[in-house]
Symmetry: C2
Subunit: 199 residues, 2 copies
């Protein structure tokens, strides 16, 4: 256990256990124990398990923000390259991690419409999609909003498909499909032939 | 309560409660009570809650089979029309139902690799994808497997996106995106210009 603050240790332990057992498959006692603290400290910092869940999802969202910064830093000013790098990044996310997206999974698991994590989920997914749409627009997509929506659906689909049938199912073709969709939406003119999906 | 058998009533009640509260958000007592029976009867029919979950998912899979039969009956011998009708059907599934796909949701909720529902999930999703690939092939798609995977990812994505941001998010463009993807994969030759995504 590192010497980080109890609050940090609780978030780290909770995220780990939630991923392994689902949001409903683990209780605050187990989280407090894994964090080397106690339930009273957990409640003092977060108020409730539901608020702790919201804090964990916020942290996942902050990490995703860092991924965006990495993309910009890697290919400054080159939106097309950033878009292709996004596909690679999304693929790594989708294929390396059998448990999918913490935030989308929470949307499935938390059936209560008024759960405090709902706002975090909606805000994160909306911001993510808008950021992708901006990139698609900069990359020359005629219908940037539609392309961003398509890529969001493909990525969400890949991560949930992994959980159903594993990495050799439809998710295995995420790159080829996404590249073909980007081609279809970013071709310069209607006179340019659509590039075939890569063989 | 209809006069169906206890087994049927348990499955119906369980599916309803699982959809409302998640697989882990409801216990066998509540299911037995909703079905107008008792826990002993539930265990006699299903052995365990996990086996009951597997039976509920099998039932969901059987219903999806009926949707395929409806498609064939509606446009006998016309695979292209069946494929467009599939998009409409998938849209109705994705947009009318805020709780998404029972089977994909179960894949998210059930973190145990050896859960008896795992086989049902994998078999259903594999069969569904293969049936869609067959239809894509009959409809003239050059890369029918890739198109089927793309449509599967878009549909899975739409259903999970609904749960994150509602029907006005990326899921709202499922039809336009799917039609554009089908166009891109089924065009007759490379000399034929790709149809623009419908405006």
């Amino acid at each position: 256990m590192t010497r980080s603050s109890p609050r940090e240790r609780i978030i780290e332990s909770a995220r780990d256990l939630f991923r392994k057992h689902g949001l409903r498959g683990v209780g605050v006692d187990a989280i407090a124990e894994a964090a080397g603290t106690n339930k009273m400290t957990l409640y003092r910092h977060f108020g409730s398990k539901d608020e702790l869940i919201a804090a964990c999802l916020s942290r996942a969202g902050e990490e995703a923000q860092e991924d965006w910064s990495d993309l910009s830093a890697q290919f400054p000013g080159d939106a097309r390259k950033q878009l292709h790098a996004w596909i690679q990044m999304a693929t790594a996310c989708a294929l390396d991690d059998p448990r999918g997206c913490d935030i989308a999974n929470a949307a499935v698991e938390l059936t209560e419409a008024d759960h405090p994590a709902r706002k975090v989920i909606e805000q994160f997914k909306t911001d993510y999609r808008n950021r992708l749409a901006e990139l698609c627009s900069q990359a020359g997509a005629g219908e940037a909003d539609l392309l961003a929506d398509a890529l969001c659906l493909l990525m969400e689909g890949a991560r949930v498909s992994w959980q159903s049938v594993g990495p050799n199912g439809p998710a295995s073709h995420f790159v080829r499909i996404s590249e073909a969709v980007v081609e279809a939406f970013t071709r310069q003119s209607r006179d340019e032939h659509l590039v075939q999906p890569p063989a």
